[in-house]
């Protein structure tokens, strides 16, 4: 199965046999890949019932719940990795969610769409309207993305909280792009954080 590029990137950077918590796991595509290809012990948290049912039908251990309210029930250090892919911008308190990720997991992968990508910037500049792009396809009033952020915003938060960046990857379309001018050129960022 072909994984979404950011998920493939995460999967390729997870040590075999790891314990992984995928927060916002969707229908379990990444979890399946981690289980089948990396021998990972993967667990998931997902808000949408139909996605949970689909993941459970794949034989995955997925709990229906909300990253904003349910991460508190997971024990400290219970996973090697906590993953939050394309979900950070949908949470009520992204800072607290990241705090939980790095409490529950030794390491955390966080991926998000970059709101400072040039397409977003030009759309806002020339049209004066909230951008609707490939990665952010929903209009402002119905979008689940309530906390848009940029790569610079994210780096700033990491610095404030005293986390360490162990790895960072930037994507434009399906291709990786360089870290120079990432905040302008990358549609999408993946960070690997350590407490």
């Amino acid at each position: 199965m072909i994984l979404r590029p950011d998920l493939a990137l995460i999967a390729n950077n997870i040590a075999p046999g790891s314990r992984v918590l995928d927060v916002g796991c969707g229908d379990g595509a990444l979890m399946s890949a981690l289980r089948d290809e990396r021998g990972a012990d993967a667990r998931g948290l997902e808000i949408d019932g139909e996605n949970v049912a689909a993941a459970m039908a794949r034989g995955l251990s997925v709990v229906q719940g909300d990253a904003d309210t349910d991460l508190g029930y997971y024990q400290d250090d219970s996973f090697d990795y906590a993953i939050l892919s394309q979900t950070l911008q949908t949470t009520k308190r992204p800072d607290l969610v990241i705090g939980h990720l790095l409490r529950i997991g030794r390491l955390a992968f966080v991926s998000f769409p970059n709101f400072a990508h040039w397409r977003v910037r030009t759309s806002l500049l020339w049209n004066g309207r909230m951008p609707v792009t490939r990665l952010l396809p929903v209009k402002w009033y119905e979008t689940p993305n309530i906390h848009h952020l940029t790569i610079r915003d994210f780096r700033e938060l990491v610095r404030e909280k005293g986390y360490r960046i162990e790895g960072q990857w930037f994507l434009s379309g399906d291709r990786q792009t360089g870290s120079a001018k990432a905040n302008l050129m990358a549609e999408h960022a993946v960070f690997l954080l350590r407490r």
Binding site: R43, G49, E50, V52, A53, M56, A57, R58, G59, L60, S61, V62, V63, Q64, G65, D70, Y73, Y74, Q75, S78
Partner: protein, 378 residues
């Protein structure tokens, strides 16, 4: 070892009945001996005896999970889930369903003969718990030569048993499927049960539980108990959709106390048909067992501690319209499982049927159970 087919072994098959010497040490302190079991098995044990699925039935359920009920003539109560091509499939699984301790379909209960007196136990039957039911099941499985369960599955009270299994026998259970259940009976749950019990005990035919030889059963009380309970199994929206305020076989209100409304007629029918197949004393004992159920209480107040020893995988399912054991109760279970690092899945499924959804047509439930069980198989 060759695969056993049901016909090779008289212990396996439909409508089985066995009396084991016991004793079965009950939570109340009594040692029950002998212990009678009525049960059914479907499918065949595989060579390494690893394919057993134990199905635990609900309060008024029975062992006829996928075969015709001898009293009502109706098909098994879970043929949507159990059968050829179904998630629990006799072609793959060795399926066991045991009439629960305290019930009235052939396993030891208040209607059984007390060997000490030669008469039915009645209220002399010891008060039992959900854990006692599970220990009794384990005793029968020992007799059947089954050490490990691939899965233990149950809805409602069956879910309480399924949840208790890995806690009481952490090494015997590979997975548990807990549907529309709870880890403890709430004050509201106890309250509804108490209404039912009082209805039975207020029936003059109940005679302190000693009615078996009288020729008159406390059917009126038991019917009211069933009617009250049945309301809790349905959703308000479901009742409204099915009956609304529609009148029963009349054009106008009667200005009397007949069953004017369809919903009244329906409930009366539920009550009356129930008494043909169920024993009033069993209803008292089993509802008591459910009221006593609090898995956390048995573990120093920590539900997580109940699962500390187990390596079982859990599948917890709730229904959005179930107000008897609402989703919050299932979440409570899942939070405890997460806290112990157990492999747990949980989903709230959407259904209009209320608590009874686990027995009815909810395709997502079959999908989820099927996926979960398939993942348990090599």
């Amino acid at each position: 070892m060759a695969t056993l087919s049901p016909s090779d072994d008289i212990r396996y098959g439909l409508a089985r009945q066995v009396t084991l010497a016991g004793p079965l040490a009950l939570d109340c302190g009594v040692a029950l001996s002998p212990v009678e079991f009525a049960y059914e098995t479907y499918g065949a044990l595989n060579a390494d005896r690893s394919n057993t699925v134990l199905i635990c039935h609900a309060l008024t359920g029975d062992q006829y999970v996928a075969s015709t009920h001898p009293v009502t003539g109706k098909q098994g109560w879970w043929t949507r889930m159990v059968g050829e091509g179904k998630p629990i499939d006799p072609a793959r699984h060795f399926i066991v369903c045991i009439n629960v301790l305290g019930s009235c379909m052939g396993s030891s209960g208040p209607a059984s003969i007390n060997p000490g007196t030669g008469a039915p136990f009645g209220m002399g039957f010891p008060v039992i718990t959900i854990a006692d039911m599970v220990r009794a099941q384990a005793m029968l499985l020992d007799h059947l030569g089954i050490e490990k369960l691939c899965a233990v599955v149950g809805g409602s009270m069956g879910g309480m048993q399924a949840l208790s299994w890995p806690s009481l026998f952490p090494d015997r259970v590979k997975s548990a499927i807990v549907i529309a259940a709870t880890a403890r009976h709430s004050a509201q749950n106890i309250a509804f049960h108490e209404v039912g019990r009082q209805a039975i005990m207020a029936d003059p035919n109940w005679r302190g539980g000693d009615y078996y030889g009288s020729g008159e059963l406390p059917t009126a009380g038991l019917a009211v108990a069933r009617m009250a309970a049945h309301i809790t199994y349905l959703s308000e929206a479901g009742l409204t959709e099915k009956f609304g305020r529609r009148l029963q076989a009349r054009d106008a209100k009667s200005f009397g106390f007949d069953a004017d409304f369809q919903v009244e007629s329906y409930l009366r029918h539920q009550g009356i048909s129930f008494v043909d197949r169920f024993d009033a004393n069993s209803y008292l004992y089993i509802t008591r067992a459910m009221d006593y159920f609090d898995l956390a209480e048995d573990h120093g107040g920590s539900l997580a501690a109940a699962f500390a020893e187990t390596k079982a995988r859990f599948c917890v399912v709730s229904f959005d319209t179930d107000w008897l054991y609402p989703t919050a109760e299932s979440r409570n279970i899942v939070h405890a499982l997460n806290a112990t690092g157990a492999q747990a899945s949980f989903v709230e499924l959407s259904s209009p049927f209320g608590h009874d959804a686990f027995l009815l047509d909810v395709p997502d439930l079959n999908r989820v159970v099927n996926g979960f069980l398939r993942a348990m198989e090599p």
